[in-house]
């Protein structure tokens, strides 16, 4: 049986792991390669590396990091942050990334999704959507949630699927960093309407939040950062609880 995935997200700046609280304040949480190896060993199902240092020089550091992770880690990983061209994706995949995640660049140029899918296949193209509820409408935001757009979450998600994306990574900016749980109602609607996997992100604070994301939110995977980085939740413990709740997991 296909299992629900637990995905720690490592925010990367200058080759180090950081985690933003509401994407603004940053704390240093360690060496990404070492952390990735530990997470893989302890039961994470996949990893996401989000590069938040998008200058040209720093991106070379990212490519080296991707190569180091690919050499050492025996589970799949996705790389995101500042990816805006077919060439960017080519370099990351050639260096061992399994999937890439695009966000702002897809909103600015939706054809990029089609181009990437045509060249690399749906299976490695994740579209990340950051959204925030404004007067009862889920609006897509850019630049880590700072810049609102005219795009509405559910119609954008539909377009993203039609253009061939393999997965959607949905972050609720209203929930991110709050540790009050995932945006389960929006998740449920996304997962019901769409026929590609939905990764839930933003709001994980305790183990029952993950249970809710899978049962109430019908998510296919759940992503979190600080609860893992600061060892508030261990993978084995979390998966044990999920299994007790009838959610299939890899244990």
């Amino acid at each position: 049986m296909l299992t629900k995935r637990i995905i720690p997200c490592l925010d990367i700046k200058d080759g180090r792991t950081v985690k933003g609280v509401n994407f603004v304040a940053l704390r240093d949480a360690g060496d990404p390669v070492e952390l990735a190896e530990i997470y893989a060993r302890e039961g994470a199902d996949e990893l996401v590396f989000l590069d938040i240092s998008a200058t040209e020089e720093k991106r070379k550091t990212l490519v080296k990091l991707v190569r180091d992770v690919a050499a050492k880690v025996n589970i799949p990983f996705t790389v995101g942050g500042g990816i805006s061209s077919v060439n960017d994706v080519d370099v990351l995949l050639q260096n061992g990334a399994d999937k890439v995640s695009i966000n702002s660049s897809a909103v600015k140029n939706p054809d990029l999704i089609d181009n990437l899918v045509a060249k690399f296949g749906s299976q490695c193209i994740v579209v990340a959507i950051d959204a925030k509820k404004i007067r009862d409408v889920w609006k897509v935001h850019l630049v880590g949630g700072k810049v609102p757009t005219e795009f509405e979450l559910f119609s954008w998600a539909k377009e993203v699927e039609e253009r061939g994306a393999g997965e959607i990574l949905f972050t609720s900016m209203d929930h991110d960093g709050t540790k009050n749980g995932f945006a389960n109602k929006a998740l449920n609607r996304l997962s019901t309407e769409r026929n590609i996997p939905i990764i839930a992100s933003g709001g994980a604070g305790n183990t029952s939040h993950f249970v809710d994301a899978f049962i109430k939110g019908k998510a296919d995977a759940a992503l979190a950062a600080s609860v893992f980085h600061f060892k508030e939740i261990r993978f084995v413990e979390l998966k044990g609880i999920l299994r007790q709740n009838g959610i299939p997991v890899r244990l």
């Binding site: 995935r5 025996n74 749906s122 026929n195 996997p197």
Partner: protein, 201 residues
Amino acid sequence: MTTVIIDYGAGNIQSIKFAFERLGITPKLTKDWEEISSSDRVIFPGVGEASSAMRKLKASKLDTLVPTLKQPVLGICLGMQLMCNSSEEGSTKGLGIFDTEVVRFTNKVKVPQIGWNQITDLKSGLFHNINELDYIYLVHSYYAPISDYTIATSSYELPYSSALRKNNFFGVQFHPEKSSTTGEQILKNFIEMNPYDAYSN
């Protein structure tokens, strides 16, 4: 002992190379006919879209070589699918090693299937020291149905072939290079198998 990974330009093969290196094996990436023919083990990878991968294989003139190989050959993911008669994806004619047709999951389930699933009904030395219901990582929209060649089964919408085998030809739908210690054991089994055993079971 030499191992080659056929490098015909269809997707990310670094991960497979790295996975072997973690096992202390240094595979060579090549599309050279001689190097492939003379190697003890051959890995036939592939990710992406079937018809364009097949075009690349033909452009490298390897479509005629692969079916004639005598040493153990392991197709991975799309590599396995291309070893079948055909794929619905892009109406692709395959290499015809496994006499079976690759078809798409219906929209009753989310497509692609992405994540960790389980393998059962394990039937080959490829799965030495692997347990029934162990977890493997998959990303795919198309699958090979259960057939006489099936040596491992997974279920998604319906039971399907997670691995196929005919004589010295093996194919896995999952990614052993990304399937944690289970995948590493399967790659190790493939390297360590007695090539003559490949013709029995």
